[in-house]
């Protein structure tokens, strides 16, 4: 039995300890937002946060998250309460097929957590492991930079109250 925290809720599973976290989250707990693209840590479609760090869960045994905190795309925002990145994704019409986008957003969210206003180059290097077969990269980059700029403006307006 492996116990961990999933989107803030303690959970336990009797899936075999070597089962990749991705399948436990998708099939045992029914959260389908995280996707399977390669099963080998090569595409980023399965990205979740483990204790805040963007992690490829298709190659992470569920035993490795015992006692840790896992956040999925469902845990950062919903259609009625979008995360700022999700709002930017809509505004920039980022998705095409959409299949890679949960993973893209989770990697981007982890980036913005540690670097709220990244440069274009920082965005590119943080996102280089998330593949998009449809070629949404220009829009993914623009959406992340837009959220970063918002954060920047917010900090600035706090510093210099009007």
């Amino acid at each position: 039995m492996v116990r961990f925290v999933l989107n803030g809720t303690p959970v336990e599973t009797d899936d075999a300890p070597d089962t990749p976290l991705l399948w436990v989250v998708r099939d045992t707990f029914g959260l389908k937002g995280s996707k399977y693209g390669c099963g080998a840590g090569l595409c980023g479609a399965c990205t979740m946060h483990v204790d805040g760090a963007a992690t490829r869960t298709c190659v992470l045994p569920v035993s490795a998250v015992a006692g840790r905190s896992v956040t999925t795309i469902e845990g950062i925002g919903t259609p009625d309460a979008l995360h700022p990145l999700q709002a930017a994704w809509v505004e920039h019409s980022v998705p095409q097929c959409g299949y890679c986008q949960s993973g893209q957003i989770m990697t981007a969210a982890a980036l913005l957590e540690r670097n709220p206003n990244p440069t274009a180059t920082e965005v590119e290097s943080a996102m280089a492991g998330n593949l998009c077969r449809c070629g949404c990269y220009p829009r993914i980059k623009a959406a992340i930079l837009a959220v970063g700029a918002l954060a920047h403006d917010a900090t600035r307006s706090e510093e210099t109250p009007a």
């Binding site: 029914g30 996707k35 390669c38 795309i73 919903t78 990145l85 980022v94 299949y99 986008q101 829009r139």
Partner: protein, 740 residues
């Protein structure tokens, strides 16, 4: 030990035959109309196959085409919404089930592909929207007791004397009236949503992980299946020891199916591990003698008229021609000849193939993301013997397709597995399965000899060597689309097409794009079929994906030989293609104004495909033998841009998909098996390698034409032409690789 003997193979197929599976009740024409696959629980008024208006104000749009990322659900919703006069963002979009009313008007079949959807549905869906609106106005006039002439509509409301009444109020009355067939259409000058930018309608679902793909579907009692297939296409199972695997945790069944051995378990990971543990032994297949080097050598031999590998047939046919090419060459001042190569490619959509099937008592329900729900239904009917009218197909979002999700061997597999086990099944292919057991973009060897005189390209002699996709497409599509045709009939028809295209006339998709765009006075096109047996199919932009590389590289080579400006040369030779001429002119002006940074070089290419004209400029640098594409400018004329932002997105996507092919794509055969398996050896372009893409939409005012594919063909030659400017090396082989 538990060994399945080959002599007991295919019991499933035999039992399907015994159950009459090949002669199911599929009405080809003339029979009574089947009821629409509309959700009856939603109630309300269903004026036609596309709309369902409920009394509580919801409007469902049954989208007839499949959403694979190209934005078709937003585009078609916008077209019908414009004439209905209702903000498309207020639609609930449902992907339509199987019914002839949802056939693609461009094909007469319920298939999505060929960049046809917006073009083919533009006029019909406008009319459907207008007819429905007219009916609502008529109902409102009755309900309000006023003359219809005093009424107008505004975004889902009938407006009378300044009062706004929601459409829902008149639905009950409208349901009793008869719809007009040809209500007047809006003046395009009054369009509110067509031509406007707004976020695509599926963006929120796709940004929140709530959009449902085939892989996400669950049904009660569902078990998971993984399949082992032969490494070489066409090989048959000899034997397999299933004993050890049956005892693995969670495993419930191990069954033999037409394509290999399926393992069924309670959880996906259990099924996958057990399938990986199997050690099936396969018979030999003819393709096992083939390496990628064999393919290329045979193509070169066939081109030169030499001998090819034993057992490989060569078929030669003539394509379109005009004038007298020999005379044209004889009078040319300059003759240029070159040969270009494009390899096999995989589609690699990010969502691997999958399907969920539940079989009940004489009925079945299938969930899958497909480019043809009717083809999917036919395959279930064929493999199960269940009446097609009693099979419901639910289409989901497609996690990429690019032509791959028109061929549905996974649907046949899931049907065989569900029948053999009696369980609802989710079949999921691994990435490796997807890479190695698919169908592929054919490799192509193309030679062009061109003669020029007085700044005009006067003679064009083009020849392509390779396999044809149409026979494989027929073999894969017919069983689903026409279940009444038996297996032998399918094989006969596909064989006849194979023979005809090798010996009588060229498969159009083998030579398309190689010769049409320029005003050559003398033209000769020839095709040489050499097919080693790797399964082939459509791949985004089909023949254009390789022919544009040869054609637009050759145009650049001619410009170099003539010491002419490549844009001027194109302008002087496209007088008969005014729309293409125009995008070349506009892109040429942009290029003339560009001032690339030191070390960066520009390359130009233009191409007409899927009724759309595109010119692209690639800004490229070459450092330490590495090609880097920094910026692409794309000028596109697709007529009316229904949603300009989606047009831009499709051009961006086409360019980036095309760059993966131009710089990396190379699917190779080793002893008939695909060498590549996953994204480490079949890399996709990454964000840090991806160019900025600027898209300029030219609206020539014609009705809309396709955008899913036309962005792709010009990019490889544009990059190759830029690399020539940067290095002096003329790269004629894809993927583009510099000599050390």
């Amino acid at each position: 030990m538990n060994t399945v003997n080959v002599s007991r193979r295919r019991f499933l197929r035999a039992s399907a035959l015994a159950g009459g599976g090949l002669v199911v009740g599929f009405s080809l024409s003339g029979c009574a109309r089947a009821p629409l696959p509309i959700d009856p629980d939603a109630g309300g008024w269903v004026p036609n196959a596309f709309l369902q208006l409920t009394g509580d104000g919801h409007v469902r749009f049954y989208c007839p085409r499949d959403e694979m990322g190209q934005g078709v659900s937003t585009g078609l919703a916008t077209i019908i919404a414009e004439e209905l006069d209702l903000d498309p963002a207020r639609f609930d979009i449902v992907f339509a089930g199987v019914h002839e009313d949802y056939d693609n008007p461009a094909m007469g079949m319920q298939v999505t592909g060929g960049s046809t959807s917006i073009k083919a549905h533009y006029a019909p869906l406008r009319q459907v929207g207008a007819n429905t609106r007219a009916l609502l106005l008529e109902a409102a006039a009755l309900d309000l007791g006023v003359p219809a002439a005093g009424l107008r509509t505004d975004d889902g409301h009938v407006v009378h004397d300044g009062a706004r009444h929601p459409y829902a109020r008149f639905v009950a009355t409208a349901a009793r009236l008869t719809a007009p067939q040809a209500a007047p259409l809006k003046d395009p000058a009054d369009f509110r949503w067509i031509g406007a930018d707004f976020p695509r309608l599926d963006a929120t679902a796709k940004a929140t992980g709530t959009a449902e793909f085939g892989i996400d579907v669950e049904v009660p009692g569902m078990h998971y299946a993984a399949v082992r297939r032969p490494p070489v296409a066409g090989a048959r199972l000899k034997s397999v020891d299933t004993g050890a695997v049956r005892d693995m945790p969670g495993v419930t069944d191990v069954v033999e199916i037409g394509s290999g051995v399926a393992v069924v378990a309670e959880r996906y990971w259990q099924a996958r591990k057990a399938a990986d543990a199997l050690q099936p032994v396969w018979h030999d297949a003819p393709l096992a003698r083939v390496d990628s080097a064999t393919v290329r050598r045979d193509y070169e031999q066939a081109l030169a008229g030499g001998a090819v590998s034993d057992g490989v047939d060569v078929g030669r046919v003539s394509g379109p021609s005009r004038g007298d090419v020999d005379a044209g060459m004889a009078t040319a001042e300059t003759v240029v000849e070159a040969t270009y190569w494009a390899p096999h490619l995989a589609h690699a959509p990010l969502e691997p193939m999958n399907a969920v099937l539940r079989i009940g008592d004489g009925e079945a329900e299938l969930w899958t993301g497909t480019q043809s729900v009717s083809g999917a239904r036919g395959l279930v009917a064929r493999a199960s013997g269940i009446d097609a009218e009693r099979i419901r197909v639910h289409n989901t979002y497609l996690g990429g397709a690019f032509g791959r999700r028109g061929t549905l061997t996974h649907v046949t597999e899931v049907t065989e597995i569900a029948l053999a086990t009696g369980k609802p099944i989710k079949l999921l292919w691994s990435r490796e399965d997807d890479m190695r057991h698919g169908l592929y973009r054919p490799a192509s060897l193309m030679t062009i000899r061109a003669g020029a005189a007085g700044g005009r390209i006067t003679a064009w002699d083009a020849r392509r060597v390779g396999g044809n996709i149409t026979p494989d497409t027929i073999e894969n599509a017919l069983p689903g689309l026409f279940p009444a045709i038996g297996d032998r009939g399918v094989r006969w028809i596909a064989g006849a097409a194979d023979y005809a295209m090798a010996n009588w006339f060229a498969d159009g998709s083998s030579i398309e794009g190689l010769f049409e765009d320029y005003d050559f006075e003398h033209l000769n096109v020839a095709h040489v079929t050499v097919d080693h047996g790797l399964p082939l199919t459509f791949w985004r932009s089909v023949g254009h994906s390789y022919s544009a590389f040869a054609k637009e590289s050759m145009i650049d080579e001619i410009a170099v030989a003539l010491d002419a400006d490549p844009v001027e040369l194109r302008l002087a030779n496209t007088r008969n293609s005014p729309r293409l001429h125009n995008v070349i002119r506009i892109a040429g002006e942009r290029m003339a104004a560009m001032q690339p940074a030191p070390g960066r070089h520009l390359g130009f290419a233009a191409h007409h495909s899927f009724a759309t004209d595109v010119a692209e400029i690639a800004e490229v640098s070459v450092t330490d033998g590495r090609i880097r594409v920094h910026r692409v400018t794309c000028v596109v004329d697709c007529g009316v841009a229904v949603n300009p932002d989606i047009v831009r997105a499709q051009m961006e996507g086409g360019v980036i998909f095309g760059l993966t092919a131009a710089l990396y794509g190379n699917l190779q055969l080793d002893g008939g098996a695909i060498r590549e398996s996953n994204f480490h050896d079949y890399p996709l372009l990454r964000m840090d390698e991806s160019p900025e893409v600027e898209v300029i939409i030219v609206d020539s005012g014609t009705e809309p034409t396709g955008v899913g594919e036309p962005g792709l063909p010009p990019i490889a030659p544009a990059v190759a032409n830029a690399v020539f400017r940067a290095t002096g090396q003329r790269l004629r082989t894809l993927p583009l690789t510099l000599e050390a």
